[in-house]
């Protein structure tokens, strides 16, 4: 698929644009230059990269400063992945990069050149939800929903890590197969903050899906 060429204008940018003159609009929208069809000459601080997101290959020309999170949201218009703290503290930006859950805000897009990324949009659709998406709905694992894409991507990673036998801080025996207890899930999900406090239901949702697979 062609990469989207016109970034959606965020609420914040719309405010900036609204406050500026029409002449200033094009320079007030971040990412416009990087997404123009006729690529600009690559300068020292812009780089070409390819990224396969949810199975679709994209060619991008980005400022080197662009985080993977901003590449997804502002350049590929995949706004399911959320920006919470932008400092790796809240987990709202969690995606699965080359098979591992990571904070997409704390990595540069150029560091993922040639890489594979799965976001919440790639896990399921409203018509065909991922089992974790369905379980979050069933168990009411959210209130406002802002942290939910990160919670679900993180939970996908947690289930995989448990299946691979990776221990956690609360595993009683480092050398035994990790359990799928509520304590284990709470510890493993501690990098995902939910300010609405839906933790109990989140643990129930993950337990239902993980329990069926472990």
């Amino acid at each position: 698929m062609e990469s989207p060429t016109t970034p959606l204008i965020s609420r914040r940018d719309a405010l900036i644009v609204g406050a500026a003159t029409a002449a200033a609009v094009s320079s007030a929208v971040p990412g416009t230059a990087a997404a123009q069809p006729a690529p600009l000459a690559t300068t020292g601080t812009q780089m070409k990269l390819s990224l396969t997101v949810n199975g679709q290959a994209h060619a991008l020309l980005l400022d080197t400063r662009t985080t993977l999170l901003d590449a997804l949201r502002e350049h590929l218009n995949l706004t399911g992945t959320k920006k919470g703290c932008d400092h790796g503290q809240c987990g709202a930006c969690t995606v699965i990069a080359d098979g591992r859950r990571i904070n997409s805000c704390l990595t540069l897009a150029v560091m993922h050149d040639g890489g594979q990324v799965t976001t919440i949009e790639g896990l399921g659709t409203p018509q065909q939800m991922h089992p974790l998406q369905a379980a979050f709905v069933k168990h009411d694992g959210y209130q406002c929903g802002y942290c939910t894409p990160g919670q679900i991507c993180s939970a996908v990673g947690v289930i995989d890590e448990v299946q691979r036998g990776i221990p956690s801080h609360v595993s009683a025996d480092l050398n035994a197969r990790p359990l799928l207890s509520a304590d284990e899930l709470r510890e493993r999900m501690s990098g995902n903050i939910c300010r609405c406090g839906a933790y109990t239901n989140i643990v129930d949702a993950i337990t239902e899906v993980a329990g069926g697979r472990a």
Binding site: G44, T45, M47, D63, T64, R65, T67, D86, H87, G88, G91, T94, R100, R101, I102, N103, L106, T107, L108, V110, M111, S154, G157, V158, E161, R164, G165, I166, P167, S168, H169, S171, L174, N175, R186, E187, R188, M189, S190, G191, N192
Partner: protein
């Protein structure tokens, strides 16, 4: 973030050479700490040398029965390695006590050793900080110092080293391997790797600017019961107020290092002779000369009790 150029290094020595060529250049591996600091402009490299493509991501046995951990081995993989879990449990435990699952999947062994302090005044760019801006002063001294160092600090800086992994590495007598642009390698004992702040708190390790960590070597296993006990304000995903890495043998002898109390992992080998007598006798020597503040004097009894709990845990597990 300030603008920067970016390149991928083809070899460790070439990575070091690339950093040597440009005064504002830095290495980037996991990036979880560096990018955080770049967003705040506490770090503002003009050039990044990405070392992720270097083949430094394996854990191999050494000729003398130890393990060589590649600089790029991710924290998750190091903690989960079967040999580390079996023979160096204190290292697995320390890694798993740190950060979050997402961060451990990205953060590297070398990067963990080089992570910067989480002193809130270091992070607050509106305030003087000798570590961030040499010579500007220390805002922590006389400020809110609950998290800060109780020993080994100076009138220039009372920040702590935030790493859990480094505390375990210290108790395991690890060595840090590096390479320079001319290809010359050296081995730095972990005891000598991190510096005390003195009057140059911005210089945190003995590494040269263009010196790249290539790996960390663990000596052959010493046996015993391995314990890492971390005391923090939350049950998970928080930095230590005090942590204890301990390896205790059946006869009661062993090794101990503390985290959260100093500018480097804190170990005093001479204090370990007192281990059979219990935590009080050890911490009396380990923390002799401590200069806590009003806010963090609690760390002294906390360290003693955390060590006591670690020794109890070791005895019941042995």
């Amino acid at each position: 973030m300030k603008p920067f150029t970016y390149e991928r290094a083809p070899s460790p020595a070439q990575a070091a050479a690339a950093v040597a060529r440009q005064p504002g250049a830095k290495f980037i591996a996991g990036g979880t700490n560096l990018l955080d600091l770049m967003k705040l402009q506490i770090e503002a490299p003009t050039h990044l040398v990405d070392v992720n493509g270097l083949a430094l991501d394996t854990i191999e046995p050494t000729a003398d029965g130890g393990l060589r951990i590649g600089a790029l081995v991710r924290n998750t993989d190091l903690a989960a390695d079967a040999r580390v879990r079996r023979d160096y449990g204190v290292l697995s435990r320390a890694l798993l006590a740190g950060a979050s699952g997402q961060l451990r999947n990205k953060a590297t062994t070398a990067g963990n050793l080089l992570q910067r302090t989480r002193c809130p005044y270091f992070y607050d760019t509106d305030q003087p900080c000798n570590k961030r801006q040499p010579g500007s002063g220390c805002s922590a001294i006389g400020g809110i110092t609950r998290q800060h160092a109780v020993i080994g600090s100076s009138t220039a800086c009372i920040a702590t080293n935030p790493s859990d992994m480094a505390v375990a590495m210290r108790v395991l007598d690890a060595s840090v391997e590096t390479v320079r642009p001319d290809g010359q390698a050296r081995v730095i004992p972990i005891a000598d790797f991190h510096r005390l702040p003195g009057d140059t708190p911005h210089i945190e390790t003995v590494l040269q600017r263009d010196e790249l960590i290539t790996g960390v070597t663990l000596p052959r296993p010493v046996g015993g019961t391995h314990v890492y006990r971390k005391v923090r304000d939350r049950a998970s995903y928080a930095f230590a107020l005090v942590s204890v890495a301990a390896i205790v043998q059946r006869d009661g002898s062993g090794r101990v290092a503390l985290g959260g109390v100093a500018h480097k992992p804190w170990r005093v080998e001479a204090a370990e002779a007192a281990l059979p007598q219990g935590a009080r006798a050890v911490t009396a020597q380990l923390l002799a000369g401590a200069q806590p503040t009003h806010d963090n004097a609690f760390k002294l009894p906390l360290a003693e009790r955390a060590l006591g709990a670690a020794l109890l845990q070791a005895r019941s597990a042995a």
